[in-house]
């Protein structure tokens, strides 16, 4: 099956750079550590509401690991480079849908990052900050579903960013814009229940909360599985948008490079 072949290839390619990626893990670990220390500092003067001081540490730690399956995936799914080199024309010629090809590759990438980045970082945090595991097995199940949705939504967003390159050549800005907005609206550093009302309303009009905030709350056992309905809705909407954009892209295609 094409999906497994492409995903496995992407996974295997990443495996070659394991040692170099180890350094990324250290950097990511340090970043998370900084954020956790800031919350620990805040927690000294305030009880930190429904999360509690230890809960906020767990919140940040889990978010930091989730970044590797949501925010830190391939920039525009690599479509920007294909547009620049003209490779996109060949990809569109193939008898598989462009979205399917790009998505399959990215799932391999995400699987790799989950196993070699998210997990080890979480295990380290687990011992460094004496985190707790959920005591209910079902929580793991719903968290897994939430994380899968989060990864899929990120793939859809990156696909749209990548396709934008057909019109703008350069889609790096969109990538950065998505990153900056995403971190803020996904509740990366501060839970969305604590941001001002207008910002919370704004973020729940976007798919971003389902990337970090919702999965983390699932994991912490703060929300029931009902919260995932929104993620499913966004998954359908963004998939439809992706297909629509591909249709436009087929007519727009210009071969660059040479």
């Amino acid at each position: 099956m094409l999906f497994t072949v492409l995903a496995k290839k992407a996974y295997a390619r990443n495996l070659q750079y394991r040692a170099s990626h180890l350094l990324h893990n250290v950097v990511s670990l340090v970043f998370g550590f900084i954020y956790i220390r800031i919350w620990a500092g805040l927690g000294e003067g305030s009880p930190l509401g429904e999360y509690g001081s230890q809960g906020m540490v767990a919140y940040i730690a889990f978010n930091q690991c989730l970044l590797w399956v949501t925010m830190f995936i391939t920039n525009g799914l690599g479509l920007e480079q294909s547009v620049r080199t003209g490779q996109i024309a060949l990809d569109l010629l193939r008898p598989a849908h462009l979205f399917y090809q790009a998505m399959s590759r990215e799932w391999g990438q995400i699987a790799y990052q989950f196993l070699y980045k998210s997990l080890p970082i979480y295990i380290l945090y687990f011992f460094m900050f004496s985190l707790r595991l959920p005591d209910n097995g079902l929580v793991f199940l719903w968290t897994a579903v939430a994380v899968a949705f989060a990864a899929y939504l990120s793939i859809c967003i990156q696909y749209l960013i990548g396709l934008a390159a057909l019109w703008t050549i350069e889609s790096r800005w969109f990538f950065w814009l998505n990153y900056a907005l995403g971190m803020l609206l996904a509740g990366f550093f501060i839970p969305l229940s604590w941001v001002p009302g207008w910002l919370r309303a704004l973020s729940f009009c976007s798919p971003y909360p389902y990337l970090l905030y919702v999965p983390t709350r699932q994991y912490m056992g703060l929300d029931g599985p009902g919260a995932l309905l929104g993620a499913a809705g966004w998954a359908c909407a963004l998939t439809a948008l992706g297909f629509f954009a591909t249709r436009l892209a087929r007519r727009k295609l210009e071969v660059q490079g040479g």
Partner: protein, 264 residues
Amino acid sequence: MKANLRLYVLLIRASVRGAMQYKFNFIGSAFVSALVQFSEFLMVALVLVRFGSVDGWSWYEVGYLCGVMTLARALYRSFASDVHYLEKYLVSGDLDPLLLRPVPLLLALMTQNVRLLVGDLAQGALLVAVCLRELLASGQADWTAIPLTLLAIVSGAVLLFAIGLATAACGFWLTRIEALQNMSEDAARSAAQYPLTLYPRWMRTLLLVALPVGLVSYVPALYIVRGEYGAWLLVAAAGAAAVFLLLALRLWTLGVSRYQSTGS
């Protein structure tokens, strides 16, 4: 020295003129860069609005720390532009044509793809202005805070440049330096935007001595806005910036002498 300075100004102007041929790109990237910085700050600001203070530092004091850091970084990145992107040159072999030019390599790199980070500068300046105004109004700082802040920003920019340059110079041995830069520039800078007392002692020492980003905004702020220790803090920070710059330049010279071009 004078000739080099003239050359530097000339090359910067040429680079900006070149970039302005793609006006939309130029303006757009400045805008997005400012937005990224702004949303990073907004995350912190929201937390502070909600909880009032971090480790005894008020909203305005932390805002001041962030603002000074943003300005110092924007100055460094504007005036030393592609030093940060040395990896690209090392991997592609594009450093060779620069070495052939009759200008010092560092000067050539500093004037490639110049981007004036107007958005970052404006945002940092606004933040520092708002925070300083409040601190002046409440009598926590006096007017000397203004020139001292400018001094801190310039010396901070020099220090960040020295750290960036030393990290880039490691590229002559390692080639791939992106992760190293993430550590020595991004992570360190993020950490130093907050009161260093948040961190364990070993990390504080690291950020003040080995990778002294703490000297960019935290140490000057201790004196300027909190009146702790004494004015010697600023002198020490500026002195350290000068020393680190000299060390970084030596490392750079050594690195260049070890440069091996890529194959193919």
